[in-house]
């Protein structure tokens, strides 16, 4: 039994090592000075002789990339703000629109409910590339192209959070909503006072999954935002040139931070959400 436990531990440690290595290299690289980075990666970036070296720890750790990023890269802040201005309202919109829709699917019987839910699932399964052209045409005709609304509105009406929250709302025992109704609550207050608190894990997992999806989005902003001044942070990273490698790695770390914090805070809900959605990973 003990040997089995050790074996399992070794396997997991091995897997964890491979998963954590890129993160570690990212952090160590972000503390590398410009000259050191240029020297280490010259064979890759400048076709120099030999092979590139990525040290476990930088020879001369420095905060210079961080200082440069925070004090000398106004475009970074503009894009960070763009990301926040697009992702936070989008996720809020997903919940505002999605939670009542999910409640209706989970708790009410109405005509064509099954067909409508099937349509939601089909829309959920469609990749962005399939709906891209139609979305483009609709946004263009509404004169929303190149504005934050081109990102927020389609995202807020996404069907995926509805799907997740429906599963959670459906799991609330009927006797609780019935008790609330008998206690004097109308349909809206039953949703507000029983549905929302009881479905909070589902709402949180929808928030977290939504945040991850749109915080890291590349195709959507690239398609609907032509003016680089509207671009989110996810488009900043590919735009940094090779000579600013230290800054690029530091920007990656800074961009990773909110997602990492949200993940650590909401890991439990995220797992529940993934289970509810029946997704593998």
């Amino acid at each position: 039994m003990k040997a089995k436990k050790w074996l399992m531990l070794c396997v997991l440690a091995f897997v964890a090592f491979f998963l954590l290595t890129p993160l570690w290299l990212l952090i160590s690289g972000s503390l590398m000075g410009g000259a050191e980075a240029a020297q280490n990666f010259a064979p890759v970036l400048e076709n120099a002789e030999g092979s590139a070296i990525w040290p476990i720890l930088p020879k001369y750790p420095t905060g210079q990339p961080l200082v440069q990023l925070l004090l000398d890269s106004p475009e970074f802040f503009a894009m960070f703000w763009n990301s926040c201005a697009q992702v936070f309202p989008l996720v809020a919109g997903q919940i505002l629109i999605g939670a009542p829709a999910a409640w209706a699917f989970a708790r009410y019987d109405f005509k064509f409910k099954k067909a409508l839910f099937l349509l939601y699932i089909i829309l959920m399964l469609m990749p962005f590339q399939v709906t891209m052209v139609s979305s483009y045409l609709v946004l263009d005709s509404m004169k929303l192209m190149d504005t934050v609304w081109a990102i927020i509105l389609p995202g807020a009406a996404s069907t995926f959070p509805v799907f997740i929250m429906t599963r959670f709302f459906a799991a609330i025992p009927a006797s609780l909503t019935e008790a609330a109704a008998l206690d004097g609550a109308g349909p809206f207050r039953v949703f507000l006072r029983v549905g929302l608190p009881m479905g909070a894990p589902g709402i949180l997992s929808a928030v977290i999954l939504g945040f991850f999806e749109y915080w890291n989005a590349l195709e959507v902003p690239l398609t609907f935002l032509k003016d680089p001044k509207n671009w989110p942070l996810s488009l900043y990273l590919p735009s940094i040139s090779a000579d600013n490698l230290g800054i690029s790695l530091m920007a990656s770390v800074v961009m990773l931070a909110p997602a990492l914090l949200i993940f650590l805070f909401g890991q439990k809900y995220l797992e529940q959400g993934i289970c509810a959605a029946g997704l593998k990973d």
Partner: protein, 338 residues
């Protein structure tokens, strides 16, 4: 306002043509405690939910104090219900659970606080007010559910098998508490159970149901002693009444059934051991003996006769396989037309 309940020719169908409640009619007086009892699927919970407004009424009417409730939403019926699984709001503390019905009615804060602490004192919930339902035992949760139902002084209490999740000892205790509270508050109460002891001990009247049809509604004593039909006779009482169709040669016991009677029955306690030559003595054989402590149940079979249960004292020495003569107390035999 009068708290009497009137159910007239109520019907309920479920998808697939299941007739869950079939032409049910009854009158429940103000302050009365009525127990709906019957086997699973007899329609007792469905009828309770129809009264609560949680199930649509497909025919007939349900009225309270003369006001027809059919189209009144649950929140406006002023009815409190205790659910089988308690239905406490897990995200709220005990205090907020109890206060919820008052908050929904927009009572002011002081009023709510007084009412909650008052009812909590009555049900010994004082020290638990700051806990969440998840941190309470089954009995405590049951008390909170009762407190939530009582706090706003509703016109009608509905209880759907509220004790079925408790252990035997706690059930006896809570049974007594619910009866005492009901008598003290005087609120009309309808209680659903499939437990005969609860039915016999708690209510002023029992409504026995079977396959959506009301079989009998009467006082516990009357239902036990004078069952309206063979179903009630077999359902109420443990062990149940001995019931035979008349055409199975019941007259051999020396008793002539009246005209129109289809079934005859006798409670096991009225079957007595007799001497071999006694008038009306029937020769039988012991098939099984169950010693219950206070009494002994003896199951008898005779040639060409249906099985008979007999309840005798704990000192009975009969053994399976033994022959015995028994006699039926003639005035205790009941006849039923259906």
């Amino acid at each position: 306002m009068n708290q009497s309940i009137s159910i007239k020719n109520a019907h309920k169908w479920y998808p697939g043509g299941v007739h869950a409640v079939n032409d049910m009619s009854m009158e429940i007086a103000e302050g009365e405690f009525v127990v709906f009892v019957g086997p699973s699927g007899c329609g007792k919970t469905t009828l309770l939910r129809m009264i609560a407004g949680l199930e649509e009424i497909h025919g007939g009417t349900v009225s309270m104090g003369g006001r027809v409730l059919n189209d009144v939403p649950p929140k406006d019926r002023d009815i409190a219900m205790v659910f089988q699984n308690y239905a406490l709001y897990p995200t709220m503390k005990v205090y907020d659970n109890i206060a919820f019905p008052l908050k929904m009615r927009k009572a002011n804060k002081d009023e709510i606080d007084t009412a909650v602490r008052d009812v909590a004192r009555k049900l010994d919930l004082g020290p638990l007010l700051e806990r969440r339902p998840g941190a309470l035992s089954g009995g405590q949760r049951q008390r909170v559910a009762l407190a939530r139902a009582m706090v706003r002084k509703p016109k009608l209490f509905l209880m759907d098998e509220p004790l079925s999740n408790l252990d035997a000892k706690l059930r006896v205790q809570m049974r007594r508490e619910i009866v005492n509270l009901q008598r003290e508050l005087g609120v009309t109460t309808i209680y659903v159970t499939h437990d005969q002891t609860e039915a016999m001990t708690m209510g002023h009247r029992i409504a026995v149901m079977h396959e959506g049809v009301l079989q009998q509604i009467d006082s516990p004593g009357a239902v036990y002693d004078r069952p309206a039909n063979s179903f009630t006779a077999r359902f109420i009482g443990s062990p149940p009444m001995n019931v035979w169709p008349i055409d199975e040669g019941f007259s051999c016991y020396g008793i002539e059934p009246p005209e129109g009677a289809k079934y005859a029955g006798i409670r096991p306690e009225y079957v007595e051991i007799a001497g071999e030559g006694d008038p009306g003595a029937i020769p039988m054989r012991v098939r099984g003996v169950e010693r219950m402590g206070r009494e002994t149940l003896v199951f008898l079979a005779g040639e060409g006769l249906p099985e008979l249960a007999m309840a005798v004292g704990s000192d009975c020495a009969l053994q399976p396989g033994e022959g015995v003569h028994v006699r039926l107390r003639a005035q205790a035999v009941r006849y039923m037309a259906g």
